[in-house]
């Protein structure tokens, strides 16, 4: 019999040339939560955060919601995961922090995916590995953050 299960589902939309919006949900036996993040393009920094604790275990858990707005202004880079875990997870909620980390990485991966999709439309025989190498040389700021390997 199943003892535990957790789902995380995240979607990224490009609302304009200057704006990505990411929406994520997490649900398991103990928690249900959602977060929406507006991220500016092309520099990929967090503009606005809405974090909602929906189902939780203690009467204090909802206090975490306001902690996550501290991420506004933070850039998607190699420091981000650590900052979210330390400054938002420990002072807010580590489960919401995990969801937020995945949301931000999905936003960066969406940038690559969008360009890849366009390139395949233009050239169905595209060498995807070579495309990825070219993308990463152009967006070296994202190379390690994307964690494609």
């Amino acid at each position: 019999m199943l003892a535990y299960s957790r789902i995380k589902s995240i979607g990224v939309q490009k609302q304009s040339e200057n704006l990505l919006v990411v929406s994520g949900v997490l649900e398991d036996e103990l928690y249900a939560m959602a977060c929406e993040i507006a991220i500016s393009r092309p520099n990929l920094s967090i503009e606005r955060v809405q974090a909602r604790m929906k189902r939780f275990t203690t009467s204090r858990c909802p206090l975490a919601e306001s902690v996550f707005t501290r991420a506004e202004g933070w850039k998607l880079d190699d420091e981000l995961d650590g900052k979210i875990k330390k400054e938002l997870g420990r002072e807010g909620c580590r489960h919401m922090a995990a969801l937020m980390i995945d949301c931000c990485r999905a936003a960066a991966r969406a940038e690559l995916t969008r360009e890849l999709r366009s390139a395949i439309e233009a050239d169905p025989e595209l060498d995807k590995k070579a495309f990825a190498a070219e993308f990463l040389s152009r967006r070296s700021d994202l190379e390690s953050y994307l964690r494609l390997r």
Partner: protein, 169 residues
């Protein structure tokens, strides 16, 4: 607005034999699809078996991790596991994304083992809750652990200062 990118992750935990827990983690996004299986024995919490299968890797960037999976056998869920898993799965040209997937799966076992304890505590001493942010038509939090129980749990060094509920006690 139509989505540009979607990612879905499902992690399940089940006791497949007495004292043997199987954690299965699956991730699927536009570029990558893979699953991880860990069999972990209690009470030692050591990994008995680990397997990682890639079913789709559009960019062909994740290498064969079978040797790293073999090295995970014997690693224990507990303090120090993050460093060990990163050394085994990520370092020396391995995969950072898979290392994080393994660490996450190990943490989900802890969550699974915590559920019965929290269920017992909520049933025994949970307090009726009415929160402004919950509802107003359907409420998800009818019973919550109150201040007394929070203080009791916050005495555990692993929980103390771990999140907003257990700070400033």
């Amino acid at each position: 607005m139509i989505l540009d990118f979607q990612t879905n992750q499902l992690t399940t935990v089940e006791e497949v034999a007495r004292g043997v827990w199987r954690v299965t983690a699956r991730t699927d996004d536009d570029l990558f699809s893979a699953s991880l299986l860990l069999d972990i024995r209690t009470p030692a919490l050591d990994i008995q078996a680990a397997r990682f299968d890639v079913s789709r890797d559009e960019l062909d960037l994740v290498q064969d991790l079978s040797p790293a999976m073999e090295k995970l056998v014997g690693v224990r869920v507990g303090p120090g596991m993050t460093k060990i898993v990163r050394a085994v799965v990520r370092d020396e040209g391995g995969s950072e994304r898979v290392a994080e997937m393994v660490i996450d799966a190990m943490e989900m076992l802890i969550n699974a083992l915590t559920v019965p304890q929290l269920r017992k505590a909520t049933d025994a001493v949970g307090q009726p809750a009415t929160l402004d942010g919950d509802g107003p038509k359907v409420r998800l939090n009818n019973v919550l652990l109150g201040e007394e129980q929070i203080k009791l749990m916050g005495g555990n060094p692993r929980l103390k200062d771990s999140c907003v509920a257990f700070r400033d006690l």
